[in-house]
């Protein structure tokens, strides 16, 4: 009798666990700054209020999202929801949330401007929403500039002006380098566009390498050879490997750092009161002073078995109240129109942060059309990779810049061929 009772109890427990699994929603998340803690808190609250759905937060490294998630998606698997930056290339794997969310109009009104960034060309699905908008831009170590007695260049300063000013700080303060740009094709594409570059051909396929690319790539190589740009960030890696320059800026080893708005929270928490820093927007080229828009999106995955639950979780995370809280606590620029239109009370005591956020909001007005088109172009990420690989080789002395331009065109041609 006892055995029978035990058997029945085990069966009941197993059935209960199966029932719980039916409502499981796995959310793959990566963090740049403090947003991992914020999302955990938000999800805990959702789980408490919705006992029939269990959201499991898988906090992973960015490399996992970049390299492992695409393979899983190709195999028709993956989490139910994921936070991703490779929005367009993987667009075929996103779930159309339209039938699963409460109010599609709310989504279209508040997030609709960025839907084309993350859905297949010509499609009208609602794949998810941008957790934040980002804009590439620079940060200057104000304290180092003051100590060196060098004026911070004004809002219309060119890349040459910034490098020259930062170079004076480098010489005066005996820094390792004047400035650093993240080793990323995305990052250098903003200045390339500012020098008139355009990757998108008339047929929406990659255009041949143009003067805009040539101008800025040549400058970057020259500045690196001259010891102005930190060589280690770009040269000590091969291929498309991403290397951020943030540690050099945080450790006051460079006077100027070109990255983007998503670094604000990390700079605030890691620099603290060690020195004053300011955001500078994007330096100017011959065609403008553009940053490159972008951001991370939260998307539903097509292969989920819990589409209804995914819709409920997405509705919760995309609600105005939650987006506002997420924005205020993470110090990100919101993609939600309603939140952006209202007053945002960023939760920080750091005066550097509020100033930086104002600068980035203002800089969104300087974004030129070619930069705006890139997030919705499916070839952007592959082209970024080619640029990084070849420019790094030039910096390492392996090939001339002219050879690199020839190779870039050949690489891009080979990518297009291979994708057929």
């Amino acid at each position: 009798m006892k055995i029978r009772t035990a058997f029945a109890a085990i069966t009941a427990a197993l059935m209960a666990s199966t029932a719980a699994q039916a409502g499981d929603v796995r959310l793959m998340w990566y963090s740049d700054g403090v947003e991992g803690e914020v999302i955990k808190d938000l999800i805990d609250r959702f789980n408490k209020d919705n006992p029939d759905i269990k959201v499991i937060l898988d906090d992973v490294g960015y490399k996992v999202v970049q390299e492992q998630l695409p393979v899983e998606l190709e195999a028709g698997r993956g989490p139910d929801i994921a936070r991703v930056t490779n929005l367009k290339t993987l667009a075929d794997h996103w779930l159309d949330l339209t039938p699963h969310i409460a109010d599609a109009e709310y989504w279209k009104t508040n997030f609709g401007d960025q839907f084309d960034w993350m859905r297949p060309d010509g499609s009208d699905i609602i794949p998810g929403f941008m957790t934040q908008l980002t804009l590439t831009g620079g940060f200057a170590n104000k304290t180092l500039f003051e100590q060196a007695g060098v004026e911070l260049p004004g809002p219309d300063a060119t890349w040459d002006d910034w490098v020259e000013a930062a170079g004076k700080v480098q010489d005066s303060q005996q820094l390792n380098a004047a400035f650093v740009v993240d080793r990323s094709g995305h990052r250098i594409s903003a200045p390339i566009v500012s020098y008139g570059g355009n990757y998108i051909g008339p047929d929406r396929l990659p255009a041949p390498i143009d003067d805009g690319v040539k101008t800025f790539a040549t400058k970057l190589v020259d500045w690196t050879e001259a010891g102005r740009m930190n060589k280690e960030t770009w040269v000590s890696a091969a291929g498309t490997t991403y290397r951020p320059g943030i540690d050099d800026f945080i450790n006051a080893q460079v006077a100027y750092y070109y990255s983007g708005s998503w670094q604000i929270a990390a700079l605030s928490s890691k620099i603290g009161t060690n020195f004053d820093w300011v955001a500078t927007g994007s330096p100017c080229g011959t065609a403008g002073c553009s940053g490159l828009p972008g951001g991370a999106a939260l998307v539903g995955i097509k292969y989920t078995k819990n589409a209804e639950d995914v819709g409920k979780v997405m509705d919760y995370l995309a609600s105005e109240e939650i987006v506002r809280e997420f924005t205020e606590r993470t110090l990100f620029l919101p993609a939600h129109k309603g939140v952006a239109a209202g007053a945002i009370d960023f939760k920080t005591e750091d005066a550097n942060v509020k100033g930086a956020l104002d600068v980035f909001v203002k800089a969104t007005g300087n974004v030129i059309e070619t930069a705006n088109a890139l997030p919705a172009w499916s070839w952007a990420t592959p082209v970024y990779g080619v640029l990084v690989t070849r420019i790094s080789q030039v910096m390492a002395g392996e090939m001339s810049i002219d050879d690199a331009f020839v190779r870039m065109d050949e690489d891009i041609k080979a990518l297009v061929e291979a994708a057929k």
């Binding site: 695409p70 060589k231 280690e232 091969a238 080893q253 970024y384 080789q393 392996e398 291979a418």
Partner: protein, 339 residues
């Protein structure tokens, strides 16, 4: 019979009873199988589980990899990939001169090939020599000998990623190595940005991480050499160098050859610790073949599994040659031992 003895007997009966029952149950079908297939058939039957595992996890992926290398496109599933024949191999071999990677359409593949050849040439010699010296030292009557053996073996236990990270922290511009140089009044060196230093670092770190394993194999060989040979040499007043060349080295040769081939195979496959340490840079100075395959097949925005498979098949062929070489050595040693 004592109570304890009775207890042991009862326990033995409890254990053996089900075994006997199982043997009785299996007896009939196994006897039938033996009558049908003979002794060889029985051997094949018992090998089946291993063959199945080998087939699923080794043979099948190998065949799939070969098929992938004849397809194009970025899709992962074979059904979605188009057959391109030998086009991926043609692309890899499309060169004006194989000695000049710049003349090849896949210049990074040939850069990786020649980097791997350079790495193997230097690392294998260095690894074998350092492992031999380490084994010889550890075989001596040192104080705290076990401690020193452990010190040399511990890096083998570390994950390659940990090894790469540790050495990256030591060798980066503001790392411990430069702090040491600075304290001694020398100018800092950009270890991971200068081509030659980065190459040397990749070789050195690899040797540091694995030398303990090979030293252990050689140490076992050294301890198997009969002591009386050394005693006789000592009585004859033979110089230590002559003892090494005439006794130690010839008798250690079987172990040394095995170590040589194992080091060679591992050197061709180098990836993990170097990937973390240098990322393949500066430029492409430490981009080795496995990293090339990984980048093309997994890390780039538009993956090219066909090209990566073709490159990995070529690398596999090299490894097969090295493995056959190792088998040949082992067989030759075995036959020498018998004669």
């Amino acid at each position: 019979m004592s109570a304890a003895g009775g207890l042991v007997k009862t326990a033995g009966a409890i254990v053996t009873a089900p075994v006997r029952l199982l043997a009785r149950l299996l007896d009939a079908p196994l006897s039938a199988l033996q009558r049908l297939g003979g002794t060889n058939g029985m051997a094949a039957f018992f090998l089946l589980p291993n063959m199945a595992i080998f087939g699923v996890f080794v043979l099948f992926p190998l065949v799939v990899n070969i098929v992938y290398s004849t397809t194009g496109g970025t899709a992962l599933f074979l059904a979605n990939r188009n057959f391109v024949g030998a086009a991926q191999y043609q692309r890899l071999f499309s060169c004006d001169s194989y000695l000049d990677p710049k003349s090849c359409s896949e210049d990074l593949f040939w850069t990786a090939v020649w980097n791997t050849v350079a790495f193997v040439s230097v690392q294998v010699v260095l690894m074998v020599v350092v492992a031999l010296i380490t084994a010889l030292v550890l075989n001596r009557d040192l104080r705290a000998r076990s401690f020193w053996r452990a010190v040399f073996f511990f890096p083998v236990l570390l994950s390659p990623v940990v090894v790469g990270l540790i050495w990256r922290w030591i060798l980066q511009r503001q790392g411990l190595a430069n702090l040491g140089l600075y304290e001694m009044g020398f100018a800092p060196i950009n270890w991971l940005v200068e081509r030659n230093w980065a190459f040397a670092a990749s070789v050195g770190v690899s040797v540091w991480a694995h030398v303990g394993f090979y030293a252990l194999i050689l140490l076992a060989g050294l301890q198997a050499i009969p002591k009386d040979l050394y005693e006789a040499a000592e009585m004859d007043g033979t110089r230590p160098a002559r003892v090494f060349w005439r006794i130690t080295l010839p008798l250690l040769m079987p172990n040394l050859l095995v170590v040589l081939v194992l080091v060679l195979i591992r050197a061709v496959q180098i990836f993990d610790e170097v990937y973390v340490l240098t990322g393949g840079g500066p430029g492409t100075a430490t981009l080795y073949l496995t990293q090339y395959i990984y980048e093309v097949g997994f890390a780039s925005a538009l993956r090219n599994p066909g090209l990566a498979s073709a490159a990995s098949i070529l690398m596999g062929l090299v490894l097969i040659v090295l493995t056959l070489f190792q088998l040949g050595i082992v067989r030759r040693n075995a036959s020498k031992g018998q004669s």
